[in-house]
Amino acid sequence: MSSKLAKIEKRTAYLLILPSVLLVFSIILFPIFSNIWISFKNVELKDLRIPEPRAKKLVKSINDNPNQIKVIYKLRNSSLTQEITNVKFKDKYPDDIEPISLNNKCQFKSNLLKCELGNWPKKYRENLEIVFQNINNQEISKKELKSYKPKLSGKSQNILLTYEFTLNNFKKVIKDKAFIDLLSTTFYYTFFGTIGAIVFGILAAQMVNQKFFGRTFMRSVLLFPYVAPVVALAYTWELLLDPTSGTLNNLLINYQIIDGPINLLGQKYVTLNILGFDFKLRLALTTVIIFEIWRYFPLAFLFILARLQAVPKELYEAADVDGANPIQKFLNITLPQILAVISILFMIRFIWNFNKFEDIFLLTGGASGTRTLPINVYQQGFSIGDIGMGSAVSIVIVVFLLIFMFIYFKLLGKRADEN
C-alpha cells in the first residue's frame, strides 16, 4: 500500500516539475551548451538567415490579345553566401488556362504548374517566362492570376548544423592584445563596484538601523535606484554628466570648483597629482563604477539591515556598561555579526558585476576604456557580426563563472557547517 502511494507521489512530482524543467532546459541550459558548439564554428551574423528560394510573379498582357498572357517569375536565391539544392516550384492557375509551351523542367497538370529547378548557387538570379492562353478564347483576368502565389522549396545547408569546426575563435580571443586589458578592466570594474556597494550598504544600514523621523520613508528611498529601470537611470546620468550641457559640470563651473568641463564618461584617463606624485586614474571606468555602486548598494543595504536588526540588543547594552565607544562597538559587535552576510554578499555581487552588461552599455557603450567581457560579447557578436567570436567570449565568461560559483558554494557549505 505504502509503496503504491510512494509511486503515485513520485509520478505526481515528476508531472508537476516537468513543465518548468523543460522550459528552463530549453531556454537556459540548452543555450549555454550551444554556446560551446557555436564557439567552435565560423559563423557570422549574416549567415544566420536561412537561404530561401524566392520568386516574384509578374503578369503581362500580350499585345492586343486578351486571351493570351505572359507570366514572368523572377527567381532568386536570397542568400549571398550559400547554395540551395533541389529547388522545387509550384503554382496554381485558374480553370481553362493552359501554357502554350513549356521547357523541359516544368509540367502542367490539372491547373498546377510544377517545376524542378535544380541547384541554385549563391546570388543566383533567373527569369522564368511562360505564355498562357485561355482554351475557351475568353479574356484572362490578370487579377485572378496574380492572386495565386507560387510556392518554392529547396534544401540548403544550415551553417549551424554542419560538422565543420574551427579553433580560430578561441585563438583570436586569447591572442588578442587587448585581451589582458579586457580582463583587467573587467576585474577592476567588478572588484571596486562590489567593494563600493558593500561599504555604502554598511553605512546606509548603520544609519537606517537607528531610530529617527522618517525612517521607513528613508528605507524606501534608498531602494529607488535598484527598483527603477536601468534605461531611464543611465540616460538621466548621461544627461547629468554631459560635458557641455550637463548639470554637474555646469554646477561645478558655476561654483568655480573646476575651470573647464570634464567629460566624465568620454575621457579614458585623468592625471591626478597627489602629494607630488602623478598618477593616472581611469576616469570613464571610475564613473561607470560609481554608477554601479549607486545602483546596487541598496541591495547590500537591504541584506545587511536585515542582519543588523537580528543582532541582540543585549550585546550593545553590555558594551555600554563596559564603557565601549561607538567605534569599539562597531568593530567588536556589529562587524563580526554581519561578516558572514558580507562574505556571501561579496560573492554574489562579484558574480553579478562580473556579468553586468546593461549599465556600461547604456552609459558608454564600452568606449573610453570601459570595455568589459560582457560588452565584448555584444560587440563581437552584434557590432562586428562575428557570432562565433561572441560565443567564444561567452565561454570565457562561463569558465570564470564556474570558478566563482565553486568558491561561492564552498563558502556557503562552510557557513552551513558552522551553523
Partner: protein, 397 residues
C-alpha cells in the same frame, strides 16, 4: 569639560550645518538664480560662533525660544552676506537652521564633559549627515529626470542650470513633452506592450512555478536534492551568456520581433528564482493541514488549490511583484530580440529614442519618467511584499 570635545563639537556641528546649507544652495541655483559662491568661510565661522552660543546658553531658558532665536540670527546673517536673493531662499535657510539647532539643542557643558561624548557626537552628526547626503544623491537624478521633462530644449540650452518650473504657462504647455511622447513617439503602444509582457510573464511564471515549487517542497522523488541545488546554479547564469545562442535560435525559428518570444525567455529566466522563493515558503506551511486535506479525499491538485494557495498568498504576491519588476525593467533581451518599432517595450523604445536622430532631451526624460513612475508607485505601495521578494531574489541583479 574637555577642550577636545568642545573643539569636535564646534567643528563638526558647523560643518554639518554648512553641508545642509550647501545642498539647499545647489537646489536654489537650479531654480535659475545666480549664485556662484557658497560663502564657506563666513558661514562656517558664524556657524561655529552660534554653536558656542548654543553651548553657553545650554538649558538656561526655554529650548524652543533658543532654537528659533539662533536660527533667525543665522538666516539674517546669510541674508546680509549674500546679494540679490529672493526671500524664499532665506526662508529655506531659516527652516534648515531651525532643524539643525533643534538637533543640537540638548548639548550643554554637562554633556560634553562625559566620556566618549565627542565620538558620540561625531557619529550622531555622521548619521544625520549621511541621511541627508544619501537622500540627496539618490533622489537628485530622479528629480532631474522629472524636471527636465517639463522644460523645453531652447530653455535648457539657454541656461543649463535653470530647472525652475513655470506653472504660469498652464498645464497643457507644462505636460507638452508627455503629449508628444505619447502621440508622436507612440509610447502608449509601447506601454501597452510592456504591460502585457510583464503581466503575461507573471501569470505564466506562477502557473509553472507553483506546482514545481510544491513538488520540491513536499513530495519525495528521485533527484530532488539535485534539482533544488541546480535551481540556484541556473539562476546565477547571466543573460549575456544566453544571448547569442538564443538570438541564433530565435532568428532561425522566426521568434524574434514577437511578444511570444519575449514571454518565453522572461518566464524561463525568472522561473528558477520563483521556484526557489515559493518552495521556501511552502515548506513553512504545517504539514498537518495537508494531511487533513488528504483525509477529506482531496487529490494533489485540490491540496494545492484549496490549502496551499490561500495560505501562501503573501509569498505569491512577493514573487509576482518581483517577477513583474524584472520583466518591466528588462533591457538586454528586448534590445536583442526587438528591432521593429511595433513590438517595442518601453525600455527598448527609450533606447531607440536615444540612439535615433537627435531626440530633444525633454522627450527622452519624459519617456524615462513614463517607464520609471509605474514601477516606483508599485514599489512604494507594495513595499512590504516587494522588499521580501528583493531579499529572497537578490542573488540576482
Amino acid at each position: 569639560m574637555k577642550i577636545k570635545n568642545i573643539f569636535t563639537y564646534c567643528f563638526i556641528s558647523s560643518l554639518f550645518l554648512f553641508s545642509l546649507i550647501c545642498i539647499w544652495k545647489i537646489l536654489v541655483t537650479l531654480q535659475g538664480i545666480e549664485l556662484t559662491n557658497f560663502n564657506f568661510n563666513k558661514l562656517f565661522a558664524f556657524g561655529i560662533v552660534l554653536c558656542v552660543i548654543n553651548l553657553l546658553i545650554g538649558k538656561k531658558f526655554n529650548l524652543n525660544i533658543k532654537i528659533i532665536l539662533l536660527a533667525l540670527l543665522f538666516s539674517i546673517f546669510d541674508y546680509f552676506i549674500s546679494v540679490n536673493l529672493p526671500i524664499w531662499h532665506s526662508f529655506g535657510i531659516f527652516l534648515i537652521s531651525l532643524f539643525f539647532f533643534n538637533s543640537i539643542k540638548d548639548y550643554d557643558k554637562n554633556f560634553l564633559s562625559k566620556n566618549h561624548s565627542s565620538q558620540k557626537l561625531f557619529f550622531n552628526f555622521l548619521t544625520l549627515f549621511g541621511i541627508t547626503l544619501f537622500s540627496f544623491v539618490i533622489l537628485f537624478p530622479f528629480y532631474m529626470m522629472l524636471v527636465t521633462s517639463f522644460k523645453t530644449q531652447a530653455l535648457l540650452l539657454l541656461n543649463p542650470l535653470d530647472f525652475s518650473i513655470n506653472f504660469a504657462q498652464g498645464l497643457p504647455e507644462l505636460f507638452k513633452s508627455y503629449f508628444i511622447v505619447f502621440k508622436d513617439y507612440n509610447f502608449g503602444r509601447y506601454m501597452l506592450t510592456s504591460t502585457i509582457v510583464s503581466l503575461g510573464t507573471v501569470v505564466i511564471t506562477l502557473i509553472f512555478a507553483i506546482p514545481a515549487a510544491y513538488a520540491v517542497a513536499r513530495l519525495n522523488f528521485f533527484g530532488k536534492n539535485f534539482l533544488s541545488t541546480s535551481i540556484l546554479i541556473i539562476y546565477l547564469f547571466p543573460a549575456i551568456v544566453l544571448v547569442i545562442p538564443l538570438y541564433t535560435i530565435f532568428s532561425q525559428l522566426g521568434l524574434r520581433n514577437s511578444i511570444e518570444g519575449l514571454l518565453i525567455v522572461y518566464t524561463a529566466t525568472t522561473l528558477p528564482v520563483a521556484i526557489y522563493m515559493l518552495q521556501g515558503y511552502f515548506k513553512s506551511i504545517p504539514k498537518e493541514l495537508e494531511e487533513a486535506g488528504i483525509i477529506d479525499g482531496q487529490n494533489w491538485l485540490g491540496i494545492i488549490f484549496k490549502i496551499i494557495l490561500p495560505l501562501s498568498l503573501p509569498a505569491i504576491s512577493s514573487v509576482a511583484l518581483y517577477v513583474f519588476m524584472i520583466a518591466w525593467n528588462e533591457f538586454l533581451f528586448s534590445l536583442m530580440f526587438l528591432d521593429r518599432p511595433n513590438t517595442f517595450t518601453l525600455s527598448r523604445a527609450i533606447q531607440f529614442l536615444n540612439v535615433g536622430a537627435e531626440t530633444p532631451r525633454q522627450y527622452l526624460m519624459a519617456g524615462s519618467v513614463v517607464v520609471t513612475l509605474p514601477i516606483l508607485i508599485i514599489f512604494v505601495y507594495f513595499e512590504k511584499y516587494l522588499v521580501s521578494g528583493l531579499t529572497a531574489g537578490s542573488v540576482k541583479g
